[in-house]
Every structure is written in C-alpha cells, then in structure tokens.
C-alpha cells in the first residue's frame, strides 16, 4: 500500500509493537474492576495500531526480539500487510458492532476479554516472521477463540466448543510435530529460510492438516458450521472473516514452493480439495435452515476457492507471486463481505423491524452479490485476479479451472439466494435500529464496495472491467443463479427439509454433537478400589503365615530342641573344622 505519511524507523517499530501490544493491554485492563468501564469503551479502538501498521508501514520492516519466547522477529511483508488490513478492519468494526450488540449482556466484559486477546494474537500471527512466533500466536488465537464460541453458554455452544477445542488440540499437535520435523532440518527458523527449503513429505502432511483444520478445508471443516452459528454475531464475523484465514496464511507461509513441490502431487491435491470444498459447501449449505449456518457453509465453499488457488501456485511455482497476490486479494474480499453478512444478520435478527425490511435486505444484498462476483464489486476484482492466475496455468488445468470459476460463482449465488430467503423470513417484530450497530456495518459495506478500487492491481481490472466479455462473465452466474432459485422457490415453497443433512455433516458419522454428556471421554472412575482390596487380601494371607511362625518360635524355646542344637552344632563344627 502506498504510504503517504512517512514515519521514521523508531516510530515504525513502536507502531509494530503496539499492534499486538495494545489489545493485550486493553484486555488486561478488562480484568481489573475499576478499569472495566474505560476498557469497554476503548476496546474497539485497540485495533487502530494494526490499521495504521497496515497502511503506513514500509513492507520489509522488522523488529528483532531475541529475548522473546524462542527468539523471534516481527515484521510486515506484502502478504502480511494485506492480511493485516483485513484483520484490522474486521476486528475493529465487529468490535464496534459488538459493543452495541452485547449492550445488555451481563457477561460482555468476559466476551471482550476473549475478543481482545484473540485479536492481539491474530495480529501477532500475521506479523510473525519466524516459525515459532507464528505457531505461538496461532495456537494462542485458537484457544482464545474458544471463549468466544462458548460465550452464550447454551448447550449447543458447549457442544460446538467441545468439537472446536478437540480439533484445535489436534491441530496444535499436528503443527507442533510438523514444525518440529521441519525445524530439525533447518539452520534457523526464519520464514524466508522455510520457503527456500526442500519439501519433506511427513512434515508437509502434518502442516497441511494442521492448517487445514483452521482453514476449514474438507473434511476438517466440521467445526465451522457448528461454531459459527452459536457464537455471538461479532465473534462469528471475525471467526469467519479473519480467523479461518490464519490457516490459509499458514499454508502460504510454510509450504515450500519450488520445482520439487511442482513435481510432487501436492498441487493437484490442493486443487482437487479446493474444488470439492467449493461445491460441497454449497450443496450442504442449501440444506440448512439457519442463516448463520448457511453463511458458515458459504465460508467453507469460499475457502475451497482459495485452497484451489494455493494449489495453482504449487503446480507452477513461477506463478507463486501472482498466486500470493490473488489469494490475499480474494481473502480480503471474502473476509470483508462475509463479516458484513454476519453483522447484517446480527443487525436484522437483533434489531430488525417489518418496516425497514426492504432497505435492510439491501444491506445484505450488496455483500452477497459481491461474493457471487457481481461486476464492479470487490468480488469481481477478486475473481478477475484469480482468473488471471488460472489462465497462466499449464494446459489441462487452465481449461478445467476456467470452467470451474463461473460454476463456482453460480453455486455461490444459489447459496446466497437461499441465505437471503431465510433472512427474509426470519425478521422479528422490533422497531428501533441502533446506530451503534448500523454504523460499523455501513463502513464495512463501503469497504466491500470501494476498498479494492484503490488497490494497486485495480488498473488491470479497470482496464478490462467494462469489457463486454468480462461483464457478461461476471453477470451470468448471478442472473442464472437468481433464476434457478426463483424457479425452485415457486415449485418447492417449503424448501428442503432441514433434517436431511444437519449442520456439521460429516461429523455425525463419527460422533453425535448433540450428545448430552459433557465429559470428553465418557465415564470417569470416581474411585479405584479394586487394586487395594487385592492388597488387603494378600495381607490377610500373610497374617496366617505369621501365625505359623509364632508356633515355630515356641518350639525353638524348648530345652530339648536347644540341647539337640547344641550337640548337632558341636558335631557339625568338628566335621567342618576337620574338613571331613
């Protein structure tokens, strides 16, 4: 990003350390009773340094902190800058939204505590320039987000939290072992070193799976549709908009790119998995009846596209910078739009009223259509950059993926239509609209609509944006999707029964998430009596032996025995001494 204000290096470093530092300090303030009021008021602003850093810092600036943890580096690079921008915007606006949304919640302080620390760690993970720093913040963020998911303390929330935490734990150890394997072959743990290393199968699998859990890739996506709906709206927004991108960022940071990678099957795996996820998410999403669940499935589907993109980069290493560019733009677009949708749902559900339906539906329509790639929206730009990458691929891939892109847009459109219908049917009867919630949403919408237009890559799109072909390519999936859904609604007004595939789909095969038990592993022994009883029995046997010994001792006391011993011993000694 072009920085118009030039900061000297000291200030830049200060800003850099404030990015995760300020939210952490604020979260600590929330723990102290007298400071809670101020803390709550200032909470959203603590993302300001991050925003500033995303906009103002020179890419490539580094802060070396040798004493910290295992020694590490924080800094901003191009990729990080975009992710930081996304994170800062979404976290900040959701926080503003949340302040109003949770106004009457008695436990909002606790919510904001977890919110702020998750935020801090999320920023930290974007800034981290070494392996362990990334891992550190990644893990911390995952665990702090648990507090957001289970905030409502409903049974569903607990169940979702349980699934989430189990997967987080598994992800943690997968990453731990993967990084360990990787680190053992590296001279140091800088990210730049990692990118240059040659791939090693086991550690790649581990890292891939570890990040896939967070990124919601198939089949590790099961926590997403369970966790997103139960969390409070601002939390869902950041979860879906920003936090799952951490998995994506992990891939980008840790997958070694090079000819060796291209020859292995990794690229294909990513691409196939991405495509599968893109359609699978839509398919299952269409069967859901709750707005936030549908959005969660949409996220799965969208993450599929990004997975596919990463796969493209692996297939042809020469394209890696473009892929990075495309992924970060797509992530930015999707994050903003998805956050806007979640906040919109929150606004509608919490505060909506009959009278304002139409314009509020309008608020939701914009990000929806953007996701489907409506021309001149952020989606269009994102998809354009994606297509540029796809076209550059070797032959079979460019064909296939060229076909895939409009189809995925169509699928997205179908799903979002489904979503809009659900929202439309779910308005409660309230009248007032809180500006505290509306304002952040509007800012977010503005960002969705306008931010990408200021992007350096825009000129390419601006050149071709008005092209007939491009226009049509963006438009027909939207229109077709709309048409299909209208037809569908007319024929089956009731929609598909929700019980067909419940939220969490594949999880049901192995585990019933509505299980009433709280313990992770079923029954817990409250006492262990068996072993001890055995010991007592043995002691009883000993007692009998002791009795026998006492009898023998009495016999030894008889004079006759003593005399016998005396003589025997005399004789024996004689024999022994004379060595007979």
């Amino acid at each position: 990003m072009m920085s118009h204000i030039v900061l000297n290096e000291q200030l830049q470093l200060l800003l850099l350390s404030l990015v995760p530092g300020l939210p952490l300090v604020m979260s600590c303030a929330l723990l102290v009773k007298p400071l809670q009021g101020i803390g709550m008021r200032l909470a959203p602003w603590s993302a300001l340094p991050a925003l500033g850093a995303a906009l103002l810092l020179d890419p490539g600036i580094n802060l070396e902190v040798t004493w910290f943890f295992m020694g590490g580096r924080m800094g901003v690079d191009l990729l990080g800058q975009r992710f930081l921008l996304l994170a800062a915007l979404v976290w900040m606006l959701s926080a503003f939204f949340g302040r109003s949304y949770l106004r009457s919640d008695p436990r909002r302080t606790s919510f904001f505590f977890f919110y702020l620390i998750s935020m801090a760690f999320n920023f930290g993970l974007i800034l981290a320039q070494d392996m362990l720093g990334f891992y550190l913040f990644f893990g911390l963020m995952s665990f702090s987000a648990y507090g957001l998911i289970v905030h409502t303390q409903s049974r569903e929330a607990r169940q979702a939290g349980k699934i989430y935490i189990v997967l987080v734990m598994v992800g943690e150890v997968l990453l731990f072992s993967g990084m360990l394997l990787m680190a053992s072959r590296l001279p140091d743990l800088e990210l730049t070193t990692i990118a240059a290393t040659s791939p090693e199968c086991v550690s790649l699998i581990l890292l891939f799976l570890g990040f896939a859990i967070k990124a919601g890739a198939l089949p590790m996506h099961v926590w997403l549709p369970l966790a997103h709906p139960v969390a409070p709206v601002p939390a869902s927004a950041v979860l879906s908009g920003v936090m799952i991108k951490a998995g994506l960022l992990g891939w980008l940071r840790f997958l070694p790119v090079g000819p060796e990678m291209a020859q292995s099957g990794w690229g294909t795996i990513f691409v196939v998995m991405g495509i599968l996820a893109a359609f699978y998410g839509v398919l299952i999403g269409l069967m859901q009846q709750e707005a936030k669940t549908v959005l969660a499935y949409s996220s799965i589907s969208q993450m599929g596209i990004m997975t596919m993109l990463v796969g493209c980069g692996l297939l042809s290493p020469a394209f890696w910078p473009q892929v990075n560019n495309a992924v970060s733009i797509y992530a930015l677009h999707h994050g903003l739009a998805k956050a806007a949708l979640f906040l919109g749902v929150g606004l509608v559900v919490a505060e909506g009223g009959r009278r304002s339906v139409s314009w509020m539906m309008g608020l939701l329509l914009l990000p929806s259509l953007a996701l489907a790639g409506l021309p001149f929206s952020s989606g269009a730009i994102a998809k354009f950059t994606v297509k540029e990458v796809v076209h550059g691929l070797p032959m079979p891939w460019s064909e296939a993926l060229g076909l895939f892109m409009p189809l995925s847009a169509l699928a997205t459109m179908l799903l979002l239509c489904h979503f809009l219908k659900i929202v439309n049917g779910a308005f409660p009867r309230k009248t007032s609209i809180s500006t505290g919630m509306l304002r952040p949403l509007l800012v977010l919408l503005a960002a969705v609509g306008g931010l990408l237009w200021f992007w350096p890559q825009l000129p390419t799109y601006a050149e071709h944006g008005a092209d007939r072909d491009l226009l049509w390519q963006g438009l027909w999936p939207v229109l077709l999707g709309w048409g299909i859904m209208v037809v569908f609604w007319t024929w089956w007004p009731a929609g598909i029964k929700s019980s067909t595939v419940p939220a969490g789909d594949l999880l049901w095969l192995v585990y019933n998430p509505h299980d009433k038990r709280d313990g992770l592993f079923g029954k817990i022994d409250t006492q262990e009596g068996k072993g001890e009883k055995g010991i007592f029995r043995r002691i009883g046997m000993w007692m009998d032996v002791l009795e026998a010994g006492r009898g023998l001792e009495k016999k030894l006391m008889r004079w006759g025995v003593v005399g016998g011993c005396y003589l025997m011993l005399c004789l024996y000694l004689i024999f022994v001494i004379l060595k007979i």
Partner: protein, 106 residues
C-alpha cells in the same frame, strides 16, 4: 593305648560333663537342672585337675588355681540359681493357688 590313671580321671570328667549336660536338657525340674549344672562343673574341674597332673612328674599349679577359682564361681552361681529357683517356685505356687481359687469360685 594304655589307660593311665590320668586318662581315667580325664574321661570321667568328660563323662560327668556329658551326664550333667543331659540332665540340664532332659530334666524338667529346676532343682535338677541346677544340680545338673553342678555336675557339669564338677566334671570340668576333674578334667582340669587331671591336666595339672600332666605326665605325673611335674605338678602344674595353674590348673589348681583355675579349679579353685572355678569352684568359687560355681558356688556363687549355684547360690544365685537356687535363690532364683525359689522365687520361681513361689510364683508358680501362687499362680496355682490363684488358678484353683478362680476355678473354685467359677
């Protein structure tokens, strides 16, 4: 091998020792045990005196001194033994009386 008087005395001494030993082990009564010990002691003393006789030419005074001392020791230990035996006897008597009394009342 020809038995000299020395041999006879010596063997008698040893025999006495063994007889005493048998008495000590086999007799149940305390008094008999004490007497048995005295017999043993006598046996040993006899043996010592035999040694003093040696080959009959020179009489060694040392074993005599030993026997004299031994007799003193033996006398005193017999005294102690008798005193103790008396006490034990008394107690056994008392115990029997008590037992009988208890039985009679029961």
């Amino acid at each position: 091998m020809i038995f000299s008087p020395g041999h006879v005395y010596g063997l008698t001494g040893l025999l006495l020792f063994i007889v005493g030993l048998a008495g000590l082990i086999l007799c149940a009564q305390l008094l008999r045990k004490i007497l048995a010990v005295n017999i043993m002691a006598s046996g040993v003393f006899l043996f010592l005196v035999t040694i003093a006789h040696g080959n009959g030419v020179l009489i060694d005074p040392v074993p005599h001194a030993m026997v004299l001392t031994g007799i003193v020791v033996s006398v005193s230990s017999t005294a102690v033994a008798l005193a103790l035996a008396g006490r034990v006897q008394d107690m056994a008597h008392c115990r029997d009386l008590l037992k009988k009394k208890a039985r009679g009342e029961g």
